[in-house]
Amino acid sequence: MPLRNLAYFFREAFKSIARNHLLSIATVSTIAMCILILGMSVLITLNTSTFLAGLESDVEIMAYLDQELDDAGIKKVQEKMEGLSGIESITFVSREQALQKMQKTLGKQNYDLESTLGKNPLPNSFEVKAVDPHDVPELALQIEKINGVYKVNYGQGVVEQLFSTARWVRVVSLLFIVLLALGAVFLIATTIRLAIFARRKEIYLMKLIGSTDWFIRWPFFIEGIGLGALGSLLSIIILAVAYGSLLNKVDTVLFMPLVSGQDILINLYLSLFAAGAVLGIIGTGISINRFLDV
């Protein structure tokens, strides 16, 4: 594409936006609304999934060992667990350490657990972390089968519920985002279709004079991308100001810590901007071939 044409394309795109300025304003503001809601749902998703991912990574398996197991037996169990795939770390917790931990959580000095209980009732155990928290239930089953393991605990029931909640949150917000994106594409397609319709006589002439299809398409693509980018820019400004002031006032919402990393947010804003432009391309692409078939 020669540079001299580029100036023509931008001039035509700008003229078309100006000529249909009311429709252009309507499109830009609706796209801004769409991207704003899109950005908000991405932010909510980002926050909940960060929160949920934190909860998920906290999930670990406690493998309690038989009371009679000697040091060699313990070593054997550890070796067998290390042989399982998908394990991130294994930490041995002796019965003494376990008792100290319990003492700590119960509030220590007031009474001496060991003397109250007579002897230490707690078993030796392993704390096992999985590489992928979703593998925990499956891993727990395998660990339970190892000789010398007397019981496995990973918060059965609660964990499964956590995982399925997290999955639903992700699915629903993805669905929401897809629907909004479709709405924005439809709007841009309509605007471009009207812009093309308004110029159908000119396009027919251009075709007869010997314009190439791409020469005719470019201004409309620039218009579509421009409308999409302008709309997303508007929404990013609103979103950045609103989220920024929210972060200034609070850092948690409903006990959920807010995502505040600058690079994450900048990436989000850049992605939303790109999304606006891409929606513009798709919307224009849907409408562009009308009236070109001459």
């Binding site: 006589k201 007869l208 010997g210 005719i216």
Partner: protein, 229 residues
Amino acid sequence: MLVQFYNVSKIYANGIKALDDISLKINGGEFVFLMGPSGAGKSTMIKMLYREEVPSRGQIFVASRSLVRMKRKEIPALRRNIGVVFQDFKLLENKTVYENVSFAMEVVGAHQRDIKSRALEVIQMVGLQGKEQSLPGELSGGEQQRVGIARALTNRPLLLIADEPTGNLDINTAQEIMELLYDINRKGTTVMMATHAWELVKAAHKRVITLDGGKIASDITPGDLKLCH
């Protein structure tokens, strides 16, 4: 040989047969009238020349290139060699005379410096100097058609096709437009003009092809014209 039709037929999707086994040749530099009643196939024939329509059967060559085998992306190059003038002028109402003419060069990606000199040149050629900044609505019918002709000439076409160019004009204005077309033809451009205006054709002493019911009813060269009517 600029234009060749070999056994060209056209049957539209609704079953109407617009052209029926047409064969003809037009040499470079000729001036040809295309006559015939409405529905005789004149428009179809003209649209085939700039490949808005393709034949159902037969072959068409323009400047030795087959229009039937032509790929979609080759069409723009063909059309840059063909200027089209319409009965209803098809001017862009919101553009000035100058813009309507320069538009034709702009949309084929010409250099800006060439556009200005060529646009002013063709505007002068059709006798509209001084009206460059007028809008089509401010011009008479004859002047509007001159803009249409200027636009068709801008890219120096080999073939100028005029579809009823005087159909909307009074007889005196029509005569002026004809003089302009003859002048263009004298400078070397082949002209093909579809018309109903027998008075203009009779006075012209040019080749006349008459279509009737999609067939060539007659094809009379200047020397033979007096035999007719």
